[in-house]
């Protein structure tokens, strides 16, 4: 996936425009990023990576866009 696709996915789930998504967008900065949103982000990204997100051990510690991109990058899932 590209970084832009991650931003678009997160924006779609949080109901905000992709251009409004920043690296800092996350549980601490967005009131809409609650546990249900986190679950939706997990499953949406997992579908788009053919199940690879579920195999990243500490993925659920990634509670912001920046941390998600870092986790995906470390596991070769971000182009």
């Amino acid at each position: 996936m590209t970084r832009e696709e991650v931003y678009a996915t997160v924006g779609q789930i949080l109901n905000i425009k992709p251009e409004e998504v920043t690296p800092e967008t996350g549980a601490e900065t967005s009131p809409d990023w609650d546990s249900l949103a986190h679950i939706n982000i997990l499953t949406a990204l997992d579908e788009k990576t053919n199940g690879k997100i579920a195999e990243i051990d500490d993925f659920m510690e990634a509670s912001s866009v920046e941390k998600i991109c870092a986790a995906m990058s470390q596991n070769g899932l971000l182009s």
């Binding site: 546990s35 249900l36 986190h38 679950i39 997990l42 499953t43 997992d46 579908e47 199940g51 579920a54 195999e55 990243i56 051990d57 993925f59 659920m60």
Partner: protein
């Protein structure tokens, strides 16, 4: 060897989405229902406990069985009426089972039924028992705060009683297991000195159930497909050889993701969430019985059972009917 009979009872106090909505005005119960697939749950009343439900389910099972022939009783629970003695011993006496019977409690949650099935089938296979009762009962509902959005819409109280016998038809096993206590804090009673301090063992008063649903879902998505494939390999089977996949009925979200990740046909993935909820260790036996009543389980079929969750703990097994 086979599972010859199953009975179950549900908590006597029903609770639907309307009650959740009335108690928590900010909850979007339609969205919650879409994720959970659960409309009705069954909670215990003041006078209902894991023991009383277990006894009721066991007595129902014993209506058609000579109780003097029972060789063993395994009682699966994480919410016993009392820590000491083992509820299995009290249940043995309450149900007038033979004094020669083996009886013990097994403390596992969502993996508990398959754990118990593996132990019971091993005891039968090695000749120590002719048959074994496997009784599961949970009352997680007693430990859930009214405003807990992660736990309250999901968990339901129930008991199930299953007879495993050494009959000539069918087979039970092989099994696979997985344990990862690093996930213990993601589904636990809190405060919990054992988990939070590592060594303290003080008894906590009025603990409540806490679940990090996102982390438990991630564990499920990461581990259940892996161990399903491992079980199939151990049994020299392919996905196509399995007639029904009976996973722990955690939530629709979990079953949707497992179906996707394993590329399973929807019709092979059993779902009985809407009217029953997540009854922890009883979801698999309840699903088995509901499928049997519907005529979907017939002799000669191959079933894959897998329980997973609190612990983290996972157990899976193959049952041939």
């Amino acid at each position: 060897m086979n599972i010859s009979d199953i009975q179950f009872v549900l908590g006597g106090r029903g609770e639907g989405l309307d009650t959740l909505s009335a108690d928590n005005a900010s909850w979007l119960v339609d969205d919650i229902f879409e994720k959970t697939g659960i409309r009705d749950r069954h909670l215990t009343g003041k006078n209902e406990t894991a023991f009383t439900m277990a006894r009721a389910a066991t007595e129902e099972l014993l209506k058609n069985i000579d109780r003097d022939t029972i060789g063993g009783l395994i009682f699966v629970t994480q919410s016993p009426d009392s820590q000491i003695p083992a509820t299995a011993c009290v249940l043995q006496a309450a149900c007038s089972l033979p004094k020669t019977a083996l009886a013990f409690d097994l403390n596992q949650g969502c993996s508990g039924f398959v754990y118990g099935l593996s132990v019971a089938s091993s005891l039968i296979a090695n000749g120590n028992l002719e048959n074994c009762l496997l009784v599961c009962a949970e009352t997680y509902g007693k430990y859930i705060a009214p405003d807990d959005r992660a736990c309250r819409p999901i968990f339901s109280d129930a008991a199930s009683a299953v007879l495993i016998g050494s009959g000539e038809t069918g087979s039970i096993g092989p099994f696979v297991f997985s344990t990862d206590g690093n996930g213990a804090q993601n589904l636990m009673l809190a405060p919990n000195a054992l988990i939070e301090n590592g060594t303290a063992r003080t008894r906590e008063t009025n603990p409540t159930l806490h679940m990090n649903g996102a982390k438990v879902l991630h564990f499920t998505m990461g581990q259940v497909p892996k161990f399903t494939r491992a079980l199939l390999e151990k049994a020299s089977l392919s996905i196509d050889d399995i007639d029904l996949f009976i996973f722990h009925q955690a939530s629709n979200l979990v079953l949707d993701n497992l179906t996707r990740l394993l590329d399973l046909a929807d019709k092979k993935v059993v779902r009985h969430l809407e009217s029953y909820g997540n009854t922890v260790s009883s979801t698999i036996p309840i699903a088995l019985e509901l499928e049997r009543r519907a005529g979907h389980i017939r002799p000669g079929m191959t079933l894959l059972l897998m329980g997973f969750g609190v612990g983290y703990s996972l157990a899976g097994g193959i049952v041939r009917t």
